[in-house]
Assembly symmetry: C2
Homo-oligomer: 168 residues x 2
């Protein structure tokens, strides 16, 4: 399966590395997406760096099977860009799996695709999720149709297990 | 006037220093508030550091005349704490002035005090502000009763001018 990862500077290091390593180990292909192809972006803790494979303006939802959005400061930076928000909106409409953790859900809020959906997320964004019309559930992983969400780095094992199961 | 400033690590440096310097110059007193008294917190750009004067649990709205919430990563970190959110909620109810810039408005969202209020804020949180029931206005400064809000560092001159006028 081809998995797009939306990531920019300040991402939560292990929320990128752990799922991506698990997906690669399971034979899936990772395509890192940001505003500029070829740049290297760094994690918030400076423990991981990622080379961007594709520009968000030059990709199509049809070319991917799933979308991963790691947390940290990255989602809030990315959602300031309309191309990123439109891509997430189109992805959500396609009903292909979207994996979000921590404040990665901020991109789903900006894409306005959370009405009536069950979701979890980082403590600081609970009110934002409720205001977006989602039903917030305080659990390590929440699955609602094509959305799989988790709250924080310590939920990663359950998050990765649920994502891998969805990709099978 | 006594002005409480809610600030923690990762604050937008000039969104703290510029208003605070202007307020001090005008004769106002600044009390820096965070979870722990005595600690030093640093700006996102490492251009400013702030010593915390008071713990949020030990202060009362009655002891202050206004509240300033600078942006950066600071507001999102602070709103994960219920004492901070309760303080902001009480402050909003007191009808004393609240000055917010950039994503400082995230604390007003978590305090659930934005319904029907005119507000501006950083680009990435526009959808969050609308979802919170606020009327988003794209202007360098927006004043609605006791709330004065701005979008970003370049709005600082207009923001400071409006805040100082409110304090007179």
């Amino acid at each position: 399966m081809r998995i797009a990862v939306l990531v920019t500077n300040g991402f939560q290091d292990d929320e990128y590395t752990e799922p991506v390593n698990a997906f690669k180990k399971a034979g899936h292909e990772i395509i890192n997406v940001e505003l500029k192809k070829g740049v290297t972006v760094k994690g918030k803790l400076d423990k991981a760096s990622v080379v961007i494979d594709e520009t968000v303006r030059n990709i199509y939802v049809e070319d991917f099977d799933a979308l991963l959005i790691p947390g940290g400061y990255s989602p809030d930076k990315l959602r300031g860009n309309d191309d990123v928000v439109d891509f997430v909106k189109d992805f959500a409409k396609s009903k292909k799996p979207i994996f979000v953790i921590c404040p990665g859900q901020q991109l789903l809020i900006s894409a306005d695709v959370l009405k009536g959906r069950k979701i979890t997320g980082y403590r600081s964004i609970i009110q934002d999720l409720k205001n977006a019309g989602a039903e917030f559930i305080d659990a390590e992983v929440v699955e609602d149709k094509n959305f799989i969400s988790s709250r924080q780095p310590k939920d990663l094992p359950a998050f990765i297990k649920a994502c891998l199961s969805k990709l099978n």
